[in-house]
């Protein structure tokens, strides 16, 4: 590769409200301790009524731009991946473009691929970069996921956003390779007009999450001739905490390699933002020379796997914007009553 391409800046956003597993379990008469042990999730993030995928995407994008310190007009592509865009028809990406001052000579689109639409946007930006079609691209994963009351998903379906600026100048995490694996696997879906998604219960595990992540990650490692132990950190899609820990083990990664990325314990599953927030959490602490592996998973189904090497530029951008830890700690707990109002379960 003649020129380094990679991440030049990143930003996240997580809404301030949390609802605990205990609070949800108490409504349905379930055993909270059993659920917490099973999922290893303690609480999840909940947006305010005046927050949605677009507002969270803008907040994350603005954090990324603040870290980057570049000019928004130079952003040549904006992709927003989500399974909960505020409009069925009308892009979120144009709202983001206007709200970061990047309207004009840019391409923009909304993407949907369950929980991996954000990393699909990253791939598209890398492609445009590699072919010299743009100078800087912005890929965002943002979701405010819905879960049917009493469904097991209700304990984890959270909200959050992560934005990555991709470019060639002042790269903080150089792209070493990427690899994807896709198959038509109906493990999780939501039909047009349906409020809540449906899923295939245990079918979402082995043939879906595990199979795709393993194939994409192994594919990448083979392609660029690397082994799990070459990496300092790894992050996977986090529908709960148990799955990424188990898939890490299956792939031969240690608990220590994956542990840093596990934001899910405190904010739940942020869908399109999940593996990206995990990556951002790693970047918040990563040192020059560190290697990071990122593998997303989107139901339906597919996985995108990326290998990055952290550069010395990471030191320069530290503390320029809010970290994942800041958002994890900046919280207030709400009752199930308020939760149902905020989520629109309670109709007024």
């Amino acid at each position: 590769m003649s020129e380094k391409i990679g991440i030049v800046a990143y930003g996240v956003y997580i809404p301030r409200n949390r609802i605990t597993v205990d609070e949800i379990a108490s409504v349905w008469g379930e055993d909270a301790n059993e659920i917490k042990m099973q999922l290893q999730v303690f609480e999840k993030s909940v947006p305010f009524p005046d927050e949605d995928v677009a507002t969270m995407a803008v907040e994350a994008a603005r954090n990324a731009i603040k870290q980057w310190r570049g000019e928004s007009e130079k952003i040549g592509a904006i992709y927003v991946g989500s399974e909960s865009h505020p409009y069925a028809v009308k892009p979120t990406a144009t709202i983001v473009a206007a709200a970061i001052g990047a309207e004009g000579q840019t391409t923009a689109a909304d993407l949907e691929f369950a929980c991996k639409a954000g990393t699909a946007g990253m791939q598209m930006c890398f492609g445009l970069m590699q072919s010299n079609m743009i100078k800087v691209g912005l890929a965002i994963g943002s979701d405010s996921s819905q879960a049917k009351p009493k469904d097991p998903l209700e304990y984890t379906a959270g909200a959050g956003s992560a934005a990555f600026l991709i470019g060639k100048q002042n790269v903080i995490a150089e792209l070493e390779g990427m690899y994807s694996y896709t198959s038509d696997t109906p493990d999780f879906w939501r039909r047009e007009g349906a409020t809540f998604p449906s899923h295939g219960q245990r079918f979402t595990g082995m043939p879906a999450y595990f199979d795709h992540i393993i194939k994409a990650t192994k594919g990448l490692l083979e392609k660029i001739n690397r082994k799990p132990e070459d990496y300092d950190y790894v992050t996977f899609h986090q529908p709960n905490t148990k799955f990424p820990l188990r898939v890490a083990k299956m792939l031969g990664f240690s608990k220590e390699q994956v542990e840093k990325s596990l934001a899910c314990k405190y904010i739940g599953n942020t869908y399109s933002a999940s593996s990206m927030i995990g990556f951002a959490k790693i970047l918040d602490d990563a040192q020059p020379g560190d290697r990071v592996l990122v593998t997303s998973y989107g139901s339906g189904a597919g996985s995108d796997s990326f290998s990055f090497r952290i550069t010395e530029n990471i030191e320069k951008i530290r503390d320029r914007s809010k970290t994942v830890q800041y958002y994890i700690e900046n919280k207030r707990n709400i009752s199930y009553g308020l939760y149902s109002r905020y989520k629109g379960i309670l109709k007024v």
Binding site: F48, D50, V58
Partner: protein
């Protein structure tokens, strides 16, 4: 919640674009074609400060239908670091804990929703730093 109005106002609502007068140097928001202070036509776009101080605030219980989804909410008079004053909602806070004089920063939120099928209006609000 008319489409042309939402489109026309987006730079003001999303980015806080007002004006600065090249003659009297006064800054103003929202924008006007001529300077409201000196009448000069020599005005240029100016982005208002992102941070400010809470001057007055109250909690709104009743309001028009497109805003009511968010009630009760806090609205305040905010004096920005550049001296411009704006009326805006204060979010990410509990009314009972708010204090006059606290520092605030801009955030991007849903201002109004036109029912279930109409447009969504976005714009700036403030949150405590």
């Amino acid at each position: 919640m008319e489409p042309p109005k939402i489109w026309r106002e987006r730079k003001e609502r999303y980015l806080g674009i007002g004006i600065m007068c090249e003659d009297c140097k006064k800054k103003n928001f929202p924008k006007t074609r001529i300077c409201p202070d000196c009448g000069s036509e020599n005005v240029k776009p100016y982005k208002i400060a992102e941070r400010g101080t809470l001057k007055y605030f109250t909690q709104i219980m009743n309001t028009g239908d497109e805003l009511v989804f968010n009630t009760p909410y806090v609205v305040g008079l905010v004096e920005l670091e550049d001296g411009i004053k704006v009326t805006a909602q204060i979010v990410d806070c509990d009314f009972k804990d708010l204090k006059k004089g606290i520092k605030l920063e801009q955030t991007f939120r849903v201002i109004a929703r036109n029912g279930k099928e109409g447009l969504i209006k976005y714009g700036f609000k403030f949150r405590p730093i």
